[in-house]
C-alpha cells in the first residue's frame, strides 16, 4: 500500500458511516467522515481527499448533487467518486455515471468488494496522476525544446546574418580589388596611349623638321636662280647695250638690280634665321670681350673707325655656341653702327655684369634711337621702324638675336628714345666652373 490514502466517507446514516470508517481504517486508509452533502463539500474544499465514497440518498444536498458540483469544479473534478446506493437501480446508476461518478456500489456490500473497488480507483487515480505528471513533464520539456529551437533559430539567424555580412564584405572587397585592377588597367592603357601619342608627335615633329630643312634648301637654291638671271641679264644690258638706252632706261635697270640685291639679302637672312632654329647648339666657353672687339674691328670701315668712340668694359665669360654668339654681336654691333652713323659724334659702349646666376650684356649707342612704343615690335620678323630709304636692312637681324638668346636660355630687350640713342640688353645663364 502507498502512504495512507485519504478517503472521504459521506453518509447521513450514522451506522453506515461508522461501518465504512471501520472497514477503511482497518484496511489502512486515512478516513474522514462526513454525515451530509454540505459537510462533504466543506471537507473537500478544506482538504482534497484521494477518493470519495458518497451515499446517494441524503437529506439536504444529495450524493448526485455533491458529485455534480465536485465534477464541475476544476480543482475537484479529478477526485474519483464511488457512489453508494441502498438499491440496485440502473437508472440511478446511469444518472451517477452521467454526473461523473467513477463507480457504483450497492448496500449491503461486502468489505472485500468495497476495498477492491476503492483500491482499483485509487490505483487508477495514481496512474492518471503519474500520466499527468509525465505529460506535464513532457509538456515542459516540449516547451523547453521549443524555446531551445526558437533560441537556436535566432542564433542561426544571427549566424546567417553574420555570414551574409561576411559574404557582403567579401564581395565588397572583391569588387574593390576588381575596381583597383580596372583602375590599374586604365592607367596602363592611358600610359600606353600617352607613349604612343608622344611617339606619334615626335615623329610628326621630325617630319616637319625635315620638311622645313628641305624647304630651306629649296628656298636657297630655287629662289636664287631666277634672281641670278634677272641680275645677270640686267648687267649685260647695262654693259653691252648702254649705247642703245637713254639715262632713264639705265636708271630703271639700276632699280631692277638693286631690288634683286634686296631680295637676295632677304633670302640670306631668312635662311640664317631658319638655320638658327634648326642647328644644334655646340656649347663652349666664350671670351666675350675678345669676341666683341674682334667683330667690331672686322666690321668697322675706315670711316667708322674714325668717327666712332668704341668702348668695351670687361665682359663676363659666357658658355654658348660661338658661331651663334658671334652672329648676335655682329647683328647688334652692325645695328648700332648703322643707326649711329648719321650723328656728328658717334659712341658705342658695351658693358656686362653678373648677378644671381645671370650674365647681362648691354650695347649702348647715341644714335637715332627709336620710339619706345615699338619696343616689343623690334624683335619681330620683318619689323622695321625706319623707312627703307633711311637705313638698309630687312628686319631680320634682331629676330635672329632673339632666337639665339632664347635658345641659350636668356632674355633680350631694348630701351630707346627717339633721337636719344638705344640700348640693347641680353642675358645668359652664368657660366659654371665645370663648363670652362
Amino acid at each position: 500500500m502507498n502512504d495512507k490514502a485519504a478517503i472521504l466517507a459521506v453518509d447521513d446514516t450514522s451506522e453506515s458511516l461508522a461501518l465504512l470508517v471501520r472497514i477503511l481504517t482497518q484496511a489502512g486508509y486515512q478516513v474522514r467522515p462526513a454525515d451530509s452533502g454540505e459537510l462533504a463539500l466543506a471537507a473537500v474544499a478544506a482538504n482534497l481527499p484521494d477518493l470519495i465514497l458518497l451515499d446517494i440518498r441524503m437529506q439536504g444536498i444529495d450524493g448526485l448533487e455533491v458529485c455534480r458540483r465536485l465534477k464541475s469544479n476544476e480543482h475537484t473534478q479529478h477526485i474519483p467518486i464511488i457512489l453508494i446506493s441502498a438499491f440496485a437501480d440502473v437508472q440511478e446508476w446511469v444518472a451517477g455515471l452521467q454526473v461523473g461518478a467513477a463507480d457504483y456500489i450497492t448496500k449491503p456490500f461486502q468489505a472485500e468488494e468495497l476495498l477492491i473497488r476503492v483500491e482499483t480507483h485509487l490505483a487508477l487515480k495514481r496512474a492518471r496522476v503519474s500520466l499527468e505528471q509525465q505529460a506535464s513533464a513532457l509538456r515542459s520539456s516540449n516547451a523547453r525544446l521549443s524555446t531551445e529551437i526558437v533560441e537556436r533559430k535566432s542564433v542561426e539567424d544571427k549566424l546567417r546574418q553574420s555570414l551574409n555580412l561576411a559574404e557582403g564584405s567579401r564581395l565588397a572587397m572583391l569588387s574593390a580589388l576588381e575596381d583597383q585592377k580596372e583602375a590599374q588597367e586604365q592607367i596602363r592603357l592611358l600610359n600606353t596611349g600617352l607613349e604612343q601619342r608622344v611617339a606619334r608627335r615626335t615623329a610628326q615633329l621630325e617630319t616637319s623638321n625635315k620638311e622645313l630643312e628641305s624647304f630651306a634648301y629649296s628656298v636657297s637654291h630655287d629662289l636664287r636662280a631666277p634672281l641670278r638671271a634677272i641680275d645677270g641679264f640686267s648687267r649685260i644690258l647695262q654693259q653691252e647695250y648702254a649705247d642703245k638706252l637713254d639715262d632713264e632706261g639705265l636708271r630703271l635697270l639700276g632699280v631692277v638690280r638693286n631690288s634683286t640685291k634686296t631680295m637676295d639679302q632677304l633670302i640670306t637672312d631668312l635662311l640664317a634665321l631658319s638655320k638658327v632654329s634648326r642647328s644644334e647648339l655646340k656649347y663652349s666657353p666664350i671670351d666675350m670681350t675678345a669676341m666683341v672687339k674682334a667683330i667690331y674691328y672686322q666690321m668697322a670701315t675706315p670711316e667708322v673707325l674714325e668717327k666712332f668712340v668704341f668702348t668695351v668694359s670687361d665682359l663676363p665669360g659666357a658658355n654658348g655656341d660661338p658661331t651663334l654668339m658671334r652672329q648676335v654681336w655682329m647683328n647688334l654691333i652692325s645695328n648700332a653702327i648703322k643707326y649711329t652713323l648719321p650723328r656728328e659724334v658717334c659712341a658705342i659702349q658695351i658693358s656686362g655684369s653678373v648677378s644671381t646666376g645671370l650674365c647681362t650684356y648691354a650695347i649702348k649707342d647715341n644714335g637715332v634711337g627709336y620710339n619706345p612704343k615699338y619696343t616689343d615690335n623690334i624683335f619681330g620678323l620683318f619689323q622695321r621702324l625706319h623707312r627703307s630709304g633711311e637705313f638698309e636692312g630687312t628686319g631680320v637681324g634682331l629676330a635672329i638675336v632673339k632666337r639665339i638668346i632664347h635658345r641659350h636660355g636668356g632674355q633680350v630687350w631694348g630701351e630707346g628714345q627717339v633721337g636719344a640713342g638705344a640700348t640693347f640688353y641680353f642675358t645668359l645663364p652664368e657660366r659654371q666652373v665645370n663648363d670652362a
Partner: protein
C-alpha cells in the same frame, strides 16, 4: 680619244639655261676656253664622258680639262656625277668644281667626301659671279696642272 690635245675643253653640267648662258658668257669673256660643252642633266653628262659599249664596259670619250658641275640636276644628281667621275681611275684626275646656289653645310661636306676639287656658291650678283668664274677658271685651267 681626244680630238685636239691643245684644246682646253670645259664641260659645264647645268640644267638652268640662264645660269648656263651667264656662265658661258663669263668664260668666253675672259677667253678661258675655246671649247665649252654644256650638258643639261646628269645622265647626259655621264653618257658624254663614259660612252657605253656593247660589252657593258664603257669607253672614255672625252677628257675635259675641267668639269663645272651643278649639284641640283633633274634625274641623275650632281653628287652622282661627281661620284662616278671621282671613282673611275681614268677620270679621277679631272678637276671638278661644284657650282651651286645652295650654301647648306651638308652639301659642302658630301662633295668634299666624294673628292670634289672646289666648291663655290653661285652669287646672285652678276659682277661677283663673273669674278668667281674668272678666278676658278684661271686657277684650275692655268695654274693647277693635273698630274
Amino acid at each position: 680619244m681626244m680630238h685636239n690635245p691643245e684644246a682646253m675643253v670645259i664641260l659645264l653640267v647645268e640644267d638652268n639655261d640662264s645660269d648656263a648662258e651667264l656662265t658661258l658668257r663669263a668664260l668666253k669673256k675672259y677667253h678661258l676656253s675655246n671649247k665649252i660643252i654644256r650638258m643639261a642633266d646628269g645622265q647626259e653628262a655621264l653618257d658624254y664622258i663614259f660612252q657605253p659599249k656593247a660589252t657593258g664596259e664603257t669607253e672614255l670619250r672625252a677628257n675635259p680639262k675641267l668639269i663645272l658641275l651643278d649639284l641640283k640636276l633633274p634625274g641623275v644628281s650632281g653628287l652622282e656625277v661627281l661620284q662616278a667621275v671621282k671613282s673611275d681611275p681614268r677620270t679621277r684626275c679631272i678637276p671638278v668644281v661644284v657650282l651651286t646656289s645652295s650654301t647648306e653645310e651638308e652639301d659642302i661636306i658630301k662633295t668634299y667626301q666624294l673628292g670634289v676639287n672646289s666648291f663655290i656658291s653661285k652669287p646672285v650678283e652678276f659682277d661677283d659671279f663673273m669674278e668667281t668664274v674668272k678666278n676658278l677658271g684661271l686657277y684650275w685651267l692655268l695654274l693647277n696642272k693635273a698630274p
